[in-house]
Symmetry: C2
Subunit: 237 residues, 2 copies
């Protein structure tokens, strides 16, 4: 017989996110960056020894993957699904426990990264523009790019071939701050990386420790605003 007191997969996975230190580590990794154990220890506010234990459990549980390089060990989220769970859970938590009166407009809805793609105000505006203009057309389970869409996106530096290699070319990811979908999948990833390397977007410093969006904030640079307007007819507010 199976142990009736066994945690069950759902509870076991939830338990991995239920510790404050681990939760801080995971939210930090939502920036898409690969972070070393030492950095994560500081972020989580614990001594390296403690952090090491937490990271071992997260890796054991399959939520993160570790890449050893020299004497550093880089940690990042394991998959799109993990990011989706953290994003959804974070959104629910934020709605349940309004953290300090909540300067909703200026803090949470701000443009941000969701693991490897764009979210927040910019993410949903982009989604709306691409689909509204017919550059992305609905297909079962996601979106495909039209001829003009491919041309427009390629002109902004997006590597569409690379985007094709993902399991999903383009699909929706629910945005909890805007409550509308933004773009995920291979295309979402390539857009974010292309515009970041091109200097159209830049990462913003997180403000303080308990920041829900730590390391995830981004902003549109002046060149980015120009490029988005000219290339996609998109006005980033």
């Amino acid at each position: 017989m199976t142990d009736p007191t066994a945690p069950g997969p759902l509870a076991a996975t939830a338990a991995l996110m239920a510790d404050p230190a681990r939760a801080r580590m995971l939210t930090a990794m939502m920036s898409g960056e690969a972070l070393t154990a030492g950095e994560l220890a500081r972020i989580a506010g614990v001594v390296p020894a403690t952090a090491s234990g937490h990271l071992a459990r997260l890796a054991e549980g399959g939520l993160i993957v570790v890449h050893a390089q020299g004497r550093h060990r880089y940690h990042r989220l394991a998959s799109e699904e993990v990011a989706a769970v953290i994003e959804t859970l974070g959104g629910l938590a934020a709605r349940i426990a309004p953290p300090r009166p909540w300067k909703h407009g200026e803090t949470a809805r701000q443009s941000r990264l969701c693991w490897n793609h764009l979210a927040g105000r910019l993410g949903v505006t982009l989604h709306q523009r691409l689909t509204g203009a017919g550059w992305l057309t609905p297909v079962p389970g996601g979106w495909a790019a039209s001829a003009e869409g491919r041309e427009r996106l390629a002109a902004t530096g997006v590597d569409l071939d690379e985007a094709m290699t993902a399991k999903r070319f383009a699909c929706d990811c629910m945005d909890w701050s805007e409550r509308r979908p933004h773009l995920a999948g291979g295309l979402g990833r390539e857009i974010a990386t292309a515009w970041l390397t091109r200097g159209w977007l830049r990462r913003l410093p997180g403000n303080g420790e308990g920041d829900v969006l730590a390391r995830r904030r981004i902003a549109v640079t002046p060149e980015g605003a120009r490029g988005l307007h000219e290339g996609l007819g998109l006005d980033a507010a």
Copy 2:
């Protein structure tokens, strides 16, 4: 100063799902039913006193709502968001910890309820049919029903006016077993309730305690198969 060891909303919410007994209760409530404290105690495998404490914490945390009626207290999930988190988290957990070789085809992908709408094989097939036939057309943030779509759906007994009263008329909800979207929102709710009351669908008994889909399984009745075929051109395998 704020306490640097404070759990943070994400960890606090995750902790509510991290207990085996509470997780069993929440998954049971994913059937959309309102369950009494006693039923939930038996489902969770704990004594009523313990269950009462758990339910108080879940209500306090905003994950469930309680409705007192006579000497019973009915508990159900608080919102669509809560259901989405549990569904997503359950999907991730199932993928991480393949529970017993996993008879994927026959168990998990089976048609089921996702809080108040259809999921699983039937859910995604329906989604595909409604959108593919043009009966639902994409609009920002979800779907709208075309004239023919409204007619077809009304013919199957769906109350479209009632569906309109929801915050969202129709939107996607990621299906973790099929890995494609199924239909949520007011329309998803009305479809499920209409077809259940009409006898096109019926609830199946859950098999055993540790059942991930406890109380969520549904099946298409013979009349349902006929009605879906004639009304929507849908063949429920």
